[in-house]
């Protein structure tokens, strides 16, 4: 036999097609440079703890006790752990017959799913059913599971915002479906234009694609916008009319840095609209322990909640979940603590509030520092980061820079980001990894570098950018005026 089974030309084409820029060329180059001893500021992934954010004390205490339950029998445990963490650990261990070491129900521990349902009920003002909540190893696993369930072949399309978080494009490619883009309007603060959506669906159908689902990311990744109630209502009505299941990526729901548009869940807006839509529209929403003030990316904890999904389908999703046995149990415990944190009067309450508020307030300040910093740079414009963890400035590249990129065999924004990386150690993701309109270039940074490092980082960025622009400027105009 001449070809080996896993020679490059013999592997699944869908795998080759999938792209995931967040860990792509830039990240690899950054890792190389780091190995060579260069100081790298990783702003490519929303990974707060990697940039020095300290974990909240209480959740870590609870999980440590669950990991080492023999500590609970030690008379000295109280010297190191507060009583409410001990009580919480005992509660969580009572949810599972085998502690953290046993597979749980494939949907997650019933006790934790009940806590999640109570959290959703409090948040939205409408009760939630734990049977329709599935815990997952981070939100990504949930998204992949749902897309796998929905996509039957390359005739099935999923509406995805552009720019988008590349998890969606990668997963759709892996499962052999069609990505149907709808463009967010940068000049309208990355707003979502419903006519634009209609057009995307019409285009796709014209090509013979059955559009089956629509993804919204709220607050937006990489774009940082928060959707208004009116906008969400429009989206819901649109999905209802067009018979789409709405996939609501709401993992940044705690990360909101302005007060005009607080986070509001798609589910609440849907239920506020009342019947018939509230009883008919199919909605799946995703959440995680990786974002918010917890930022516990390494734990891989998440959930999705299903609304108006028929029981038989719920069973199929359960079956697929069961093939992976169960989500990791420590991640489930983190989810529990996230949705039922210490209450006023608890010993750990003050500390928990101090720590979590500290993180969110600092993120708010950093969001301002970063967008202001970008807007002070030559040929750079940046919408304010209303939420999530990212800035997505537009870089107006001079024609000479675009030519230089072409002769280097690079997409222009990749070229720019590589230069930025080499010059400053700032590791970003080029806008082309998220999708953008033709001839327009962006980059994504997280707002996660430590507050005290922020002025220096922005100064270093400005120094690089302005010199870059001077080098390539020829006064013939920019990539976009």
């Amino acid at each position: 036999m001449s070809r080996k089974a896993l020679d490059y030309d013999q592997i699944n084409e869908n795998v080759k097609k999938a792209q995931y820029a967040v860990r792509g060329e830039l990240y690899l180059r950054a890792s190389e440079l780091q190995k060579e001893g260069k100081k790298i500021i990783f702003t490519n992934v929303g990974n707060p703890h990697a940039l020095g954010q300290k974990p909240l004390t209480f959740p870590r205490q609870v999980v440590a006790l669950c990991q080492a339950p023999f500590l609970l029998d030690d008379p000295n445990v109280g010297l190191v752990f507060p009583a409410d963490a001990i009580a919480k650990a005992k509660l969580y261990l009572s949810y599972t017959a085998g502690g953290l070491g046993a597979y749980s129900d494939s949907r997650g521990l019933p006790g934790i799913r009940k806590e999640v349902a109570e959290f959703i009920g409090r948040r939205d003002g409408y009760p939630s059913d734990p049977e329709l909540i599935y815990l997952t190893d981070g939100a990504s696993k949930g998204v992949m599971q749902i897309l796998q369930t929905v996509i039957r072949g390359n005739g099935d399309g999923i509406l995805v915002p552009v720019p988008q978080y590349p998890l969606y494009s990668a997963a759709i490619s892996l499962f052999g479906g069609a990505l149907v883009p709808y463009y967010l309007e940068e000049t309208a603060n990355w707003g979502l234009d419903i006519n634009n959506l209609r057009q995307s669906v019409a285009d796709a159908r014209f090509k013979g694609i059955t559009v089956r689902a629509m993804v919204i990311i709220n607050p937006g990744n990489p774009t940082g916008q928060c959707l208004s109630v009116e906008n969400l209502q429009q989206i819901l009505r649109f999905c209802h009319q067009e018979n789409l299941v709405l996939l609501g990526d709401e993992v940044y729901q705690q990360n909101v840095y302005q007060d005009e548009r607080p986070f509001i869940s798609s589910r609440k807006v849907l239920f506020d609209m009342g019947p018939p839509i509230s009883k008919e529209l199919q909605l799946i929403s995703f959440h995680t322990v990786s974002k918010g003030f917890l930022g516990e990316c390494g734990q891989r904890g998440g959930y999705f909640e299903m609304t108006n999904i028929p029981p038989q389908t719920v069973d199929e999703i359960y079956k697929v979940a069961s093939i992976s046995l169960s989500p990791n149990v420590p991640g489930q415990i983190f989810m529990g603590v996230m949705v039922s944190p210490p209450k006023p009067g608890d010993i750990s309450y003050d500390r928990f509030i101090r720590e979590s508020k500290g993180i969110l307030e600092s993120l708010r300040k950093r969001a301002h520092m970063m967008t202001d910093g970008f807007n002070s740079c030559k040929n750079v414009v940046c919408n304010f980061t209303e939420g999530a963890m990212y800035s997505f400035p537009q870089i107006k590249l001079p024609p000479k820079a675009i030519e230089a990129a072409k002769s280097a065999g690079k997409v222009p924004d990749v070229f720019y980001c590589l230069k930025l990386l080499e010059a400053t150690g700032i590791s970003t993701v080029p806008g082309s990894g998220f999708g953008q309109k033709e001839g327009v270039f962006h980059l994504r940074t997280t707002i996660l570098p430590a507050e005290e490092d922020m002025p220096a980082i922005m100064a270093s960025f400005k120094k690089f950018n302005d010199a870059f622009m001077d080098q390539y400027e020829d006064h013939r105009g920019y990539s976009r005026m």
């Binding site: 190893d137 479906g177 019409a202 689902a213 018979n243 697929v320 990791n328």
Partner: protein, 545 residues
Amino acid sequence: MRKFVGERAKRLIASNTIASVVKFNHHYTPSSPNYCSNRSQLRRLPTSLYSLISSYSIMASSGPTPPVTVESLNPKVLKCEYAVRGEIVSIAQKLQQDLQANPGSHPFEEILYCNIGNPQHLGQKPITFFREVLALCDHPALLDKKETMGLFSADSIKRASLILDQIPGRATGAYSHSQGIKGLRDTIAAGIEARDGFPADPNDIFLTDGASPGVHMMMQLLIRSENDGILCPIPQYPLYSASIALHGGTLVRYYLDEATGWGLEVSELKKQLEAAKQKGITVRALVAINPGNPTGQVLAEDNQRQIVEFCKKEGLVLLADEVYQENIYAPDKKFHSFKKICRSMGYGDKDIPLVSFQSVSKGYHGECGKRGGYMEVTGFSPEVREQFYKVASVNLCSNISGQILASLVMSPPKVGDESYDAYMVERDGILKSLARRAKTLEDAFNSLEGVSCNRAEGAMYLFPNIRLPNKAIKAAEEAKKAADAYYAIRLLNATGVVVVPGSGFGQVSGSWHFRCTILPQEDKIPAVVSRLTDFHKKFMDEFRD
């Protein structure tokens, strides 16, 4: 009529389509068929026409059927089956709820889950040292407190500090490298080297959330269509059949020979490979589960060499499921990794593509809930390796706690460490007890009428063969169940013992089996045996021909 209007609108748009003005600016695949990227400028069309298009699109799809119904799901999802958590488990869960609500409502007091290799669920205690390290890594602030010295062993503190130093920023709450934390992979590679006596490269290791995601990843990479086949043992662990179905490939069965203790004959492999080729199937990989699940056999070195030769000759990827490598109970048997076999045959990295799966869920530690594991991939080109990495990166990384545990499992305490003695007592206690339980259950099964059971040389399961009377088979047919599923349901309802019918794993047609774990705690084994024996006797009395 409206359909006609819609068609006319479509034609009009087609003739009015203006060259693409907006493009999904993706530097890799702008014209890929998966991207519906070129967009016509509908906005420039007359309003009346635009509304026609909208109504067309609404009409075309809107109806009484919502988008996600069981009829419109991915058929691959509908097709796959996973018996370990199927119907019987649902019945068991209902019985358990019943027992909680109305104690005494059934002839047993508790449900005994012998369907799944989930040792700690049945009361097995975790290894203290591992848990100490994990707790310290989960809450590193403990390392700054002097009281911690009184609560934790000195070497667990040392190990936790060492591990934290290997993690950039000591941040256990951060996503890691998508292959897993480098320092932990170094430790694992050293562990593999110590096990095999041949070098292992940390860059070949991908840490995963348990072994299952690694298996899924390989299937995703290998399977291009239903014309691609994967050779799997029958009986097999249904992860393989499910994953192959989910990824749209074809399961190519090779039968293990029950008469020779579930032997794996290369002649059988050849026969099945040829038969698959005749059907136009390109066989791409061979799955070997060693020690076997559900069959419990441990492959002999000679046999392993033959399998390696076969894969090499036929150009197959060897997928070696070695998650039960620590679970060996037969004193005359020893585990040899396929990597060691390949290397000892003189086959290096260039000669054979090999993937070895390991998990923290099995062994003596049985840490299923942690979802830790790794795969060691050797014999692939750098281009293919990049694809592995890319797919891993879409899921960001596996959970850190599981990663740390995987490194601990591959480098447990050593002679002279403070925890060494306690660790050995815990480890050997569990393994010896498992061996005793395996023997007791095996003997019990073999004493039943019409039942024969091979010995569990390894793994965590027994897979007895039951010769069911025709009357029972008929009764099962009437109940629309497979005969062994019928038996298993009756067993569950009568005794509370949950087993998995052999039909979930595959078996020679006309033979019937069930899989039973050896995991109930030792003090419960006599009760399991007597309940099983009573049930079986009554069952046979009812159905004997």
